[in-house]
């Protein structure tokens, strides 16, 4: 077909296994199956994209390509693709214990022991959920690039609800991984969720305002993801929808600050190869406080430059988008005690209930699970329902200390209706001037 400049087919089959235990009752446990393919054809201008179930990889695909090409006829954008000389698939890290080799009965028992550990006095509800997906990916494109791999992802969450005199609070712990079954010897996470819920019953509502804030590794990781990661995505840069567009080389934060996205690391956002068959690797988004590089697909690299392809990811049955994978703030050299002492008066924010950003406006918001008032360099009263918002271009200058204790935390990131597994991480960081939200009054 003359007008086809490029095509690719990404076919994902797999199984999804879940266990849901609610207050000691196995509500639901089982396995479902999916099978989805996306056929992308680059016509004279833009893309035609077909999404279908039960694709037959052995059948000729001329008819599908022709149909996608017909769709492409309504496009008017001038899409070009960069060369992608870096090809190759990393080995999927070997699982410590293959989740597929453990029976659903045993997984249910293990999850039940974690859920049971959350039943402390004062806890009125406990719920634990296990989720596992085993994904078999095949990719082929018109240049003959072809690969396949299988990746298992699994993990669990446990939630405890504490209640007293009509007040309710909850604690949540979770852990997800690509490195094999992670359900054994995790009862302490159930207990921790319960202890958080119980402690929150005595916490005060946070009082909002401007103050110094210390973010724990989990929340600072969400900060890196929301405040910098999304605004460094090549598609948003191309569309003029990011405050970081045109800022390569500019200083936007403390010289201490380096922020990286790296899908090749064996955390939850790991990809052995990107969704366009491009090799994955480390991209330093911010280096020494300066905007250093953007994350790209082949299309956005050709349009924007200043960065690297290999960041295209796709939910099964969806076309690839420029996405983060494992995003983190590099360590500094301060100890945790130094950071708390240096903060003197402010708030320590811990854990994450998620966040959101408007990258064009440069405004982000995210919420901690709880926090502590810091008074005279000492940890004080616990506070609840505390959030943080700010300006991407202002807040990064406010980072004045970076800890030496980086940790990664796992989650899912939504964009364009697609959800992909990611990890975020950071050491403890000190923000000199943060806008903290809460509905406390005194």
């Amino acid at each position: 077909m003359d007008n086809v400049r490029y095509y690719d087919i990404r076919h994902v089959r797999g199984s999804a296994t879940h266990v849901d235990i609610d207050n000691g009752v196995v509500e639901s446990a089982g396995t479902s199956f999916y099978d989805q393919a996306v056929v992308r054809v680059l016509g004279p201008q833009g893309w035609g994209i077909l999404t279908l179930e039960n694709f037959d990889p052995d059948a000729p695909c001329d008819r599908l390509i022709a149909r996608a090409l017909e769709l492409a006829a309504i496009t008017g954008d001038e899409v070009e693709l960069s060369d992608a000389p870096q090809r190759g698939v990393l080995p999927v890290p070997k699982a410590s214990e293959d989740p597929a080799g453990v029976s659903l009965e045993e997984k249910t028992e293990l999850l039940s022991s974690i859920e049971g550990a959350a039943k402390l006095t004062g806890i009125v509800n406990t719920r634990a959920r296990y989720a596992e997906s085993i994904e078999e990916v095949r990719f082929v494109d018109s240049s003959g690039c072809e690969y396949s791999y299988t990746i298992p992802r699994c993990g669990f969450s446990v939630v405890a609800v504490a209640s007293r005199n009509g007040e309710m609070q909850m604690g949540r712990e979770s852990s997800y991984t690509i490195q094999g079954l992670n359900l054994r010897h995790k009862q302490e996470m159930g207990e921790k969720a319960a202890q958080t819920a119980l402690a929150l019953l005595d916490a005060k509502a946070a009082k909002g305002g401007r103050m110094r804030a210390v973010l724990d590794p989990e929340l600072a990781g969400v900060f890196a993801h929301e405040a910098v990661g999304h605004a460094s995505e090549g598609d948003l840069i191309r569309e003029g929808n990011s405050v970081l567009a045109g800022k390569i080389g500019e200083s936007i934060g403390s010289p201490l600050l380096t922020i990286v996205d790296d899908p090749s690391l064996p955390y939850f956002g790991f990809e052995p190869v990107d969704a366009e068959g491009v090799a994955v690797g480390r991209t330093e988004l911010i280096r020494g406080g300066r905007v250093n590089a953007y994350m790209h697909s082949r299309q956005t690299l050709a349009a924007v430059g200043n960065g690297f392809a290999g960041h295209a990811r796709a939910e099964p049955g969806e076309p690839p988008l420029v996405r983060m994978s494992n995003t983190f703030i590099e360590e500094g050299d301060a100890s945790y005690d130094e950071i708390i002492a240096e903060c003197r008066n402010g708030v320590l924010l811990q854990g994450s209930r998620g966040g959101q950003v408007d990258p064009g406006r440069g405004v982000f918001q995210f919420n901690a699970e709880y926090g502590y008032i810091i008074e005279n360099g000492e940890i004080g009263t616990m506070v609840r329902d505390v959030s943080l918002s700010g300006d991407i271009l202002g807040t990064l200058h406010a980072i004045t200390l970076l800890g030496n204790d980086r940790e990664m935390h796992e989650g899912y990131c939504g964009k364009g209706g697609q959800s992909v597994p990611v990890s975020d991480g950071s050491p403890h960081v000190l923000l000199e001037d943060a806008v903290v939200g809460g509905n406390g009054t005194d």
């Binding site: 089982g30 769709l71 309504i74 919420n367």
Partner: protein, 437 residues
């Protein structure tokens, strides 16, 4: 021009086969088949970058064996035996519960207006919707960063071993546009079961908010009267109120509304319903388990009247299903949800007296679903007075509690719009706390 023709899969033989094979091994079997097709166009800046066509298919199988409920699903009709085996295995693991049987055939309410039989999935239509949005956006000084238009058609079939067999078709259309002017962004969308979108207005509003927000001033920390747009309201309702109304969360001790039936929980003039007879995207004649859909009064003039139940939760706690089962896409298992959330009370103008109009909020999903406490960032906030937008507010955090907020409603707007599966008005709220910069 490309046109994807509808070819509904002939599912009856498949359903029969699954029900017959399942009935030999389980007390009861339910099959839920979901089929859909869509066509879409997506703009990057002001040009269509891609056009998409999709076909979806899913079979969900549920079996009940001695009060143990098992589920599985598959996208592949040829794999139904594997799927049935997985559902039976799933039932062996689940704890048994009180179970009174899958529903028998029953009279259904009249079909709501959810299906546009004339809708054609022709790629020329999303293209012309995009053009109309661009024409609307040209009325203001703002650059388009992206947008999309889509048309979809779907059909569900549900059958069980109690002889129930229902089918329902629905259509949906939608479009959205994003604009930017300097560092101010604007977003607007429209959605409907029918081909009656107003793309020109979508484009005009997105560009208006982008242009209007540029050069906005700050606001001091304090208490303000607010007007919450239907979009901002839907976020609070979706992330906090809906889960709090779920019978499962109520009985599990995960809802602030537990034990409060008969109490005044929100504003005394406010009533909240699930009304699946309305012309909405989630409206339906029967729920995802085949129970006839009906109007449920959650709050009657502020008084909590009902929770939402599916069969499983109703049987377990000695209640009646409210026909509130929904499924999350093809192959999803049934769970408690709301088909078409509506809110009612004395209608008035909401924007005569000076107030801060909140077009949208950032971070509603970080609200505390148990207590309703939230602190979110405002998006496209602007002063409003005498129905006219006045100077814009650059940024502010809004901190409060969703249940308190529904107790502070001063007026309910006269106009409503479809937001997701809800149909909502704007609300005027007295004295809400904003944290300025």
């Amino acid at each position: 021009m490309c046109s994807l023709k509808m070819r509904w899969w002939v599912a009856m033989e498949l359903i029969d086969a699954i029900l017959r094979a399942g009935a030999s091994k389980a007390d009861e079997v339910e099959v839920y088949i979901s089929e859909g097709e869509s066509i879409s166009a997506e703009m990057k800046r002001d040009r269509i970058e891609n056009a998409g066509g999709s076909k979806g298919f899913g079979i969900g199988i549920r079996v009940i064996v001695g009060g143990r409920i098992g589920v599985s699903s598959t996208a592949n009709p040829n794999d139904w035996e594997v799927c049935l085996a997985a559902a039976l295995a799933s039932a062996r693991l689940a704890h048994p519960q009180e179970w009174g049987g899958l529903p028998c055939p029953a009279p259904l309410p009249d079909a709501p207006q959810i299906n546009d039989a004339t809708l054609r999935l022709d790629a020329a239509t999303p293209r012309s919707i995009c053009r109309e949005m661009l024409a609307g956006a040209a009325e203001h000084d703002a650059a388009v960063t992206g947008g999309s238009a889509s048309l979809a058609r779907g059909k569900v079939t549900i059958a069980n071993t109690s002889g129930l067999l229902y089918e329902q078709e629905r259509t949906s259309t939608g479009c959205s546009l994003e604009c930017i002017h300097e560092r101010s962004t604007g977003f607007e969308f429209d959605a409907s079961p029918f081909m009656d979108l107003n793309p020109h207005r979508v484009g005009e509003q997105a560009a208006f908010f982008a242009e209007h927000g540029a050069g906005a001033g700050e606001i001091a920390t304090g208490d303000y009267d607010l007007v919450l747009s239907p979009v901002a309201l839907s976020q609070f309702l979706g992330y906090v109120l809906e889960p709090a109304l779920s019978g499962r969360n109520v009985h599990a001790g995960r809802s602030w509304l537990a034990g409060k039936i008969g109490e005044t929980c929100i504003g005394e003039e406010i009533s909240v319903f699930d009304d699946p007879s309305r012309r909405g995207l989630g409206s339906t004649r029967f729920d995802a388990e085949g129970v006839p859909a009906r109007k449920i009064t959650f709050f009657d003039h502020g008084v909590l009247a009902h929770y939402a139940y599916d069969l499983r939760t109703a049987y377990r706690y000695g209640q009646e299903s409210t026909g509130s089962a929904v499924r999350d896409g093809p192959g999803g298992a049934p769970a408690i949800g709301v088909h078409t959330m509506v809110i009612d009370g004395p209608r008035d103008t909401v924007d005569d007296d000076r107030a801060v109009y909140v077009n949208d909020i950032v971070g509603a999903h970080t609200a505390n679903p148990l207590t309703g406490d939230f602190s979110v960032e405002l998006s496209n906030a602007t002063w409003i007075e005498d129905g006219e937008f006045d100077e814009p507010v650059r940024s502010a955090m809004f901190a409060g509690n969703v249940f308190d907020l529904l107790g502070a409603v001063a007026a309910i707007g006269r106009e409503e719009r479809i937001v997701g599966s809800a149909i909502l008005p704007a609300l005027r709220l007295n004295k809400q706390h904003l944290i300025g910069k």
